[in-house]
Symmetry: D2
Subunit: 343 residues, 4 copies
């Protein structure tokens, strides 16, 4: 068992980390941190638990520590981070300098040249960028990022389509409110309504997708030249981002060929990795957020409505935004870091 | 005042017709029809009134008639139809043969060669197709259609963009539940959920748009060759269809030029026509369904989030689906029919 | 293992039966029935599966049978029924005459003199009314009912309070849409709305509670004389009925005494019975439907907000309406029937 | 025309004040205040306008002033306040000392001995308590309060029932999210959920009702001795509080007598006062929040489902919580202050 900790463990994504790690087969959650005013409290006292499964008893009694390398036990080998992006860079650097390996869901530095941005089933080899990072930054630790929730929902399918010559992508997102954090969207904003704009989200989808689909040369990542144009909407769902995707392809694959490519997308042999990675529905009205977000324990990607267009294909894709799209993504990267010997 | 009637007046769209016509300056609502079992009841008895303004008193006491030309008073000069498409064709033909002019929201025959499909601000001249229709069908009356609610939401903006050489359109819709009628979407389908498929909707948007933007030669409509690819979703909103649009254009207009084109889109001098036709928001998070669907009394189109992409522009558009997108659209066509001397 | 079947297995409650029975330790689900037009199809074909866990594979391939005693295999010893009340009486009688034991969730005959209405943790001894039933009706089989979902949510707490002299109850319900079946509440009825009336619900709560809390004399049930006054509302939640209860009591117990009585309510030693039966929250803002409906696998009752009033106590109670309040209630009654030797 | 101002004009209730006052027949809105950082901005700049009608143009261009008596023009004769209760007492006292009459929706001091708590149709005569207030506090101005939104929804019906000897009230509320202010309830708290607790709300309903229904002796208000026991819930509706009420009465009136008492409740001859005050529905499933909250321009109270119980009657009542229950309540009190010569 690897001893692990969660930085910023009381927030919405932090609580998902707790839920996922409390029954993990390879990770032992020994350490949780929060802001200084919570330090010394038990986790039960510090966190207003809002997940729909009870708070795990062994975590509830953990003492909350300060988010500081000096406050972390020496035997912790891996840290998960869901810090607000406003403070994440400073804090994460401190931990990496102190020798910790950090698997982070925070949005800072995702597109930095020497920071691996990884979805294990898509670009596990990008992890070797850690060598470059350690050289450049003089760290004993390492910083690895997973992409934004709306990017993760789409990229596994794009990776599968790249065999047909991925050229241009239009994507409209219908994103759940949990993606904005517990207080990110007020009830008066979203009841009987849609918000047709999510600040910064469109450009994240455009750049992160290109980096994820890029090729690691041994020294850097050559970004894919796919042109992604995103339109992002917040809708009144709790969990599960649904996306309408149009992909223009160099080749002209049949629907069957595309479905095969999706279904054949390689899984990874990691504890949290779903198999299959992509679940394809034949029914045109699936996937639906409430019915399908928990496929593969919330770690699978669902696709459906595949059809040909004039210049490519059109389909829908869905993933659980706080599991596959956030806490689960970091945990999966942590499992990859462990398997590949980076801890 | 023109005496008018509503065929199928008790349903969801029928109730919107009542609401719009009860205070109309040029139309006097004298006649309402429903299924035979309601004939003889007052409208108040026959309709389970569900609009959020009280039932108009003068309509409440109207006697409901059978949906049959023989049951209609002779002095009625214009009929509005919101019949279910399964029966609409047969019934509407009967009224047209009997000499009535019918402004219909039903989906049948919208793309028929000799049936005008009209948005007054976009293609009022298509109304002259009535001449062809009367020749071919031997009718004294006439049948005029308005497009589907999701089509209407988008086409006024596309018409404005056609000056820049409209080539290809991708559109994702986030449609309100009222578009499916009062019982069309159950609560268990849509609470905390999105339905990523609306049967037949995508092809309606693709074909109706091409006919509406086409050119009337005097004998027929030459459809526009724009390639429209739609992805239609039902979301948990009550009224107001929001659409994310990408338009590829031959020219390369600036955002300012596009906004100008939207704001300069010609209005019509008709009682229900909004001025301006298109309301453009600068704020990127507008239009929103709940806040903006009632612009122009529910007859305006709202646009926002205009930005350039690699090959054209991207924006959002919104309209009230049961006013501008259904009952109000038919009323507006009725006003055009009256003004242009077809009654 | 007892071989069991589900009558009317394709509806909303039917699907919950399938979900609960597919992994049951003592029951083997071998038989599913539906309307004649589905007979011969596989269950996968006949049911439009809408539960948020995948359809169990072994059930998906079962052949759907007609809802007729002649169509049921001889080795089936227990049938669960979630038939519409319009047909349930006739059909259930047919099965009971043919010798089957039926554990039914349908609302017919719940208050009949010779039909046991049972919540195992509350009045398991009422099951002996089967003797009377068999005498009077000449059946080899038996018919046992569970109460209405809104009744079940409240009665376990009332039973615990009866030690303090239960006199009068006022209860306001906030009921989830699933209680009305898959199509029972339309989206246009409930989005941004509350329905302050559920036909027949108030009187069910008033009479069923009195029968459940009554005393079985060996020949009949003497109904409890508690006066229950209910006000029933439908709110925009998917699952989980929340109820505000005021109980006037002969004694004047402290809050602590009431909490103790709730927490000490006896559980039953049955596979689906939760332990504890009643989960008491200290936080005044719990239980909440979405967070707490799955306590005890959806079979527990949650209570909170206990406080004294002038004449008794006031509190909130919550249960999952389609598990503890419907399919799970029937399954639990089936387990009791099996344990007590009625099969 | 009386020149009026709104203190704290940019919040949710503040925006309702703007909407109601911008077209008022007797009040001219000349002054809006907000926090110091907004002072000097136009109202359009300072307020993030979220009402579903466009921002009134003449208010949009008003300069926002500091919430300070020195910043208010001399010709303003009446101020409306929707300040947060944390600062309201200090600020309101400052204005009253400076000679202003303040009609306040803030919750502080509602039950103070010398502060009139008024619903004009219920207890207009309590306004004379201003004499006592001026004596005791040495103010030239005056401070008048309207009750909490959940109290206002119920008290007009209780006042009508008092003729039958009002003894005990049980009330369960189903309150809309707007009652908590724009950011008071997050989307993650309320989607597919109910919150069974609203801090302080139950005791407000209990004490404010007794003061409102009390008798003004000329020197003080003798509180009514009705025993009110409230259970307050937040539900996923935007506007409109629905309440289930049980009233135990000394007399035993028929349903017809109660309906008559409701329908005969005296209206007031004030610009914003609805006539009738109470709209009674015969249909048991009305009033409903979305359909009926705008009755009387949002100022009427709706009642329905009246039925007899063992010891009194039971019914439902509904009012628009931010119009009749907040901004409209203060405006109505302002109209009463003007008519009765207190300005």
């Amino acid at each position: 068992m690897v001893n692990v900790g969660v930085l910023g463990a009381t927030g919405a994504v932090g609580q998902r980390f707790i839920q996922l790690l409390s029954e993990h087969d390879e990770f032992e959650l020994t350490t949780v941190t929060a802001s200084p005013e919570s330090a010394g409290d038990t986790y039960r006292e510090a966190a207003k638990w809002r997940v729909d499964t009870p708070i795990p008893e062994d975590v509830a009694t953990l003492e909350v520590r300060e988010t500081d390398p000096d406050a972390i036990p020496d035997d912790v080998d891996l840290l998960f981070s869901s810090l607000p992006s406003s403070v994440a860079e400073r804090v994460e650097h401190g931990f990496c300098e102190a020798g910790y390996v950090v698997s982070s869901n925070s949005s800072n530095e995702r597109t930095a040249d020497d920071v691996p941005l990884v979805i294990p089933e898509v670009n596990a080899d990008h992890l070797d960028l850690i060598e470059v990072q350690r050289d450049e930054r003089g760290w004993d630790g390492a910083l690895v990022k997973n992409p934004n929730c709306s990017t993760i929902t789409m990229v596994p399918t794009l990776a599968a389509l790249d065999a047909f010559g991925l050229d241009t992508v239009h994507v409209a997102t219908l994103q759940a409110v949990s993606g904005a954090g517990y207080s990110g969207v007020t009830s008066m904003e979203i009841l009987d309504n849609v918000l047709p704009h999510i600040g910064g989200e469109e450009s994240k989808m455009e750049s992160e997708s290109r980096k994820l689909l890029g090729e690691f040369t041994g020294a850097e990542v050559d970004w894919h030249d796919v042109d992604v144009s995103a339109s992002c909407n917040r809708v009144p769902t709790l969990d599960g981002h649904l996306e309408n995707v149009w992909a223009e392809l160099d080749d002209d694959p049949t629907v069957e060929a595309v479905v095969d490519a999706f279904e054949d997308a390689a899984s990874q042999d990691l504890p949290s990795a779903p198999d299959p990675l992509i679940h394809v529905f034949e029914e045109p009205d699936r996937p639906q957020p409430r019915l399908d977000r928990m496929l593969g324990g919330g770690m699978a990607v669902a696709a459906g409505g595949v059809q040909q267009t004039e210049s490519g294909i059109q389909y829908n894709t869905l993933a659980h935004n706080t599991i596959r799209g956030a806490a689960g993504a970091s945990v999966l990267n942590g499992e990859l870091l462990a398997r590949d010997g980076w801890l």
